[in-house]
């Protein structure tokens, strides 16, 4: 992933680099780096390879062969069992809905918070940021019981909004922390220019600050989306009915008390990473652009 991410950045120089590479052989250091990069890539691809190899085995085939053996015959048993016994489209929708809502709302909340703290420079901002950060530092096990009772009283159990509310708070706490320090170093000249032009605070935020930090905001949004997507413990507590489950919870359903239908679990895992890959392909540009934009700042 790092290799992909870095490739577009030095684009203008790449033609020159190519010529240089042709002109002289690679130094030993470059060879070592190349081999390390290949090994790294292999290590990342290896689990995917295992999934691909084993998702198409029948349970008997899986039991009688090693995990690295090729399937004896192509079997779609695991995939069909997963598809028939679990409501994957529903879980996928739940995951997308929850993660998207959290990503959008948490970014909006972060921007508003950090506008006050970073630009507005309210009194005691360091402490405020610290308090915000606490939300991220508190172990989720501690939130488990009180939040469960809260949502029980509010009638929000097995409702996606219980998870959305919780993670908007947790993610925007981090977002506030990050954006506050970013906006704390925001060039004063730009703000002064805006106020000379007669912009209100709201106008300054909307038309001046947000467009400038937009790359960072898109990165935050993507990260919030991914983090929320992978959340397990609190969704496990709040979402109890089978049609409210998210994708990670759905996969957990396949684990038995003492026995696990491994081929179905593998097939399910394979199916469930497809949306993640699609998501990555769509937002890959945003991720790389955001990282470099943040670096230049």
């Amino acid at each position: 992933m790092t290799a992909v991410a870095q490739a577009p950045a030095p684009a203008p120089q790449s033609s020159g680099k190519d010529r240089r590479n042709k002109a002289r052989p690679r130094t030993p250091a470059e060879w070592v780096m190349l081999i390390l990069a290949i090994l790294g890539a292999l290590a990342i691809v290896f689990p995917m390879l295992l999934l691909l190899l084993n998702a198409f085995k029948s349970p008997q085939d899986y039991a009688n062969s090693g995990p690295l053996d090729l399937p004896q015959a192509l079997s779609f048993e695991g995939i069909t069992t997963f598809w028939e016994t679990q409501n994957f489209p529903r879980a996928l929708w739940n995951s997308i809905f929850i993660s998207t809502m959290v990503a959008i709302i948490a970014v909006v909340v972060s921007v508003l918070n950090s506008f006050a703290i970073g630009i507005g420079r309210v009194r005691g901002r360091t402490w405020i940021v610290l308090v915000f950060l606490m939300a991220n530092l508190v172990p989720q096990e501690m939130l488990f019981d009180p939040l469960f009772r809260l949502y029980d009283d509010l009638g929000l159990l097995s409702n996606p909004w219980s998870v959305i509310l919780t993670f908007v708070v947790i993610q925007s706490a981090f977002g506030t922390y990050l954006l506050s320090s970013l906006l704390g170093t925001f060039p004063k000249e730009i703000l002064e220019a805006a106020s000379v032009d007669g912009a209100t605070r709201w106008r300054t935020l909307r038309s001046v600050i947000v467009p400038i930090v937009r790359p960072t905001l898109s990165v935050l949004m993507v990260f919030f989306f991914i983090w929320t997507w992978n959340e397990f413990l609190l969704p496990l507590a709040f979402l109890n009915t089978s049609d409210s489950l998210t994708v990670p919870l759905l996969l957990e359903q396949l684990n038995g008390e003492r026995q696990t239908d491994t081929t179905t679990l593998i097939a399910g895992t394979l199916i469930s990473i497809i949306p993640t890959i699609i998501f990555f392909l769509i937002f890959q540009r945003t991720l790389t652009r955001g990282i470099t934009a943040g670096a230049v700042k």
Partner: protein, 441 residues
């Protein structure tokens, strides 16, 4: 919700009576006129049932049938929520006391799990239901221990809190083809077991596959102790009736035998890093002739073993065997339909449902063995009956304390690695055990 409970309570007596009448006479048609009134009262009602058994497992199959019968007879609809064991284990304490609580749920038996819920009042006592439906008569001694919990959540006495539908126990799986290949007889007593293991070892085959990282080796240790023990030792160990002698013949025999077996190469040094799944796969792959584990493997073994003939036998030379009633049906305190829940539980105890459970590879607790025709199922039930006939069910080694599962596994790993001697193992186990149990005795 209150109005529903009141309404339902009003028809409880009538409903329950007509249904039990229905179950005793197999032809539901004749009871039609009297049962009709009871049926009508539940139509439109919904019963939320939660369990964590696979759809294809014996329990899953039998319970699907129970749901069918239940819906037909009461007119109520069942909302089936399947979950995962680990999920419910993590959240039951909160879930059962919330608006999301199922009306009836499967739950893990034992002091640390169902006992805990009973002690904190999260599940309802079922004493009245036991009386109404006569469940106690269907459960044999040894099975019913896990259905009763006292005010401290210790099983074996107190109120009824759950209903087990099935049993489970631990026995020896063996590879008949490998025994034939090396001309070794299947062991029938302790001496022949040692002889068989020695013979396999001489041929370069590790005779017994097990896992010290998960439950199998701990259960083997417990079985070895049980082979030297009587019922009063089990009561002391599991029910805290008196102090366990950690230097006595039972524990000493278990730990030193395992130490010897590891030293002699009967148990591979790899066992410390293997999971139960790894050990099971080694047996299924035909790499090891013997595997000591539970009835929960049986269906899997039957379907996954393709290239040799598998046999099962009880551990040689013992009257006591690890095993117990299976997981239990419990009624959460926030159940909106407690009386329907009881009717549902009763349906799962019916002979036809129980027979289907046995036919599908499970161990029914209230089935007529004559109803079961499948030869593989019969073989398993026969073995189980043999244990029950000698009143052998002795529960599991990790039940006495909430952390003993991990404690026992770490000591077993020490024995396999040669880090601890048998004596040191016993001392460590005693410390772990007494640190929790000493206060309860």
């Amino acid at each position: 919700m209150k109005y529903r409970i009141t309404a339902a309570t009003a028809v409880l007596a009538a409903g329950a009576l007509s249904l039990s009448a229905c179950s005793s006479s197999d032809d539901g048609g004749t009871g039609g006129s009297s049962a009709g009134a009871g049926d009508g009262d539940y139509s439109g009602e919904t019963l939320t049932v939660m369990h964590y058994e696979g759809d294809e497992s014996a329990m899953g199959i039998a319970w699907n049938k129970a749901i069918e019968i239940f819906e037909e007879e009461t007119g109520a609809t069942v909302d089936l929520q399947t979950t995962a064991f680990e999920d419910l284990n993590a959240s039951a304490q909160q879930l059962f006391d919330s608006s999301d609580a199922p009306d009836v749920s499967e739950y893990n038996k034992g002091n640390g799990t169902a006992g805990q819920l009973a002690a904190t009042g999260v599940i309802l006592p079922l004493d009245d239901a036991y009386e109404t439906y006569g469940w106690a008569d269907k459960l044999s001694a040894g099975i019913d221990t896990i259905a009763k919990y006292d005010e401290n959540g210790v099983m074996g006495s107190g109120s009824w809190y759950g209903v087990p539908n099935y049993g489970e126990f631990v026995f020896l799986y063996y590879n008949q083809d490998m025994f034939d290949e090396y001309g070794i007889d299947v062991p029938t007593d302790e001496a022949s077991l040692e002889a068989a293991m020695e013979a396999f070892e001489a041929e370069g085959v590790t005779p017994l596959t097990t896992s010290a990282q998960e439950y199998p080796m701990g259960q083997l240790w417990y079985q070895l102790a049980l082979s030297q023990a009587d019922r009063s030792w089990v009561d002391a160990y599991q029910l805290y009736t008196e102090e366990v002698d950690w230097t006595g013949p039972e524990v000493t025999y278990a730990s030193s035998t395992l130490e010897d077996w590891v030293g002699a190469g009967y148990i591979s040094g790899d066992a410390s890093g293997m999971t139960a799944e790894d050990a099971g796969l080694q047996f299924i792959n035909g790499e090891a002739p013997m595997f000591y584990s539970g009835s929960w493997w049986y269906g899997r073994m039957l379907s996954d073993i393709t290239d040799f003939e598998m046999g099962i036998t009880n551990w040689p030379g013992t009257t006591l065997t690890p095993g117990s009633g299976g997981n239990i049906w419990v009624v959460p305190v926030e159940s909106k339909q407690p009386e329907l829940a009881e009717i549902f539980i009763d349906v799962t105890m019916r002979p036809e449902v129980q027979a289907l459970l046995g036919e599908s590879g499970g161990l029914p607790v209230a089935a007529d063995t004559a109803d079961i025709t499948d030869a593989d199922a019969q073989a398993l039930i026969e073995l189980f009956n043999e244990v029950n006939d000698r009143d052998g069910l002795s529960f599991y080694p990790d039940w006495p304390t909430p952390t003993f599962y991990g404690d026992l596994n770490s000591v077993m790993q020490g024995i396999v690695n040669g880090d601890v001697s048998a004596d040191e193992a016993n001392t460590q186990l005693m410390d772990y055990y007494e640190s929790y149990v000493a206060d309860l005795r």
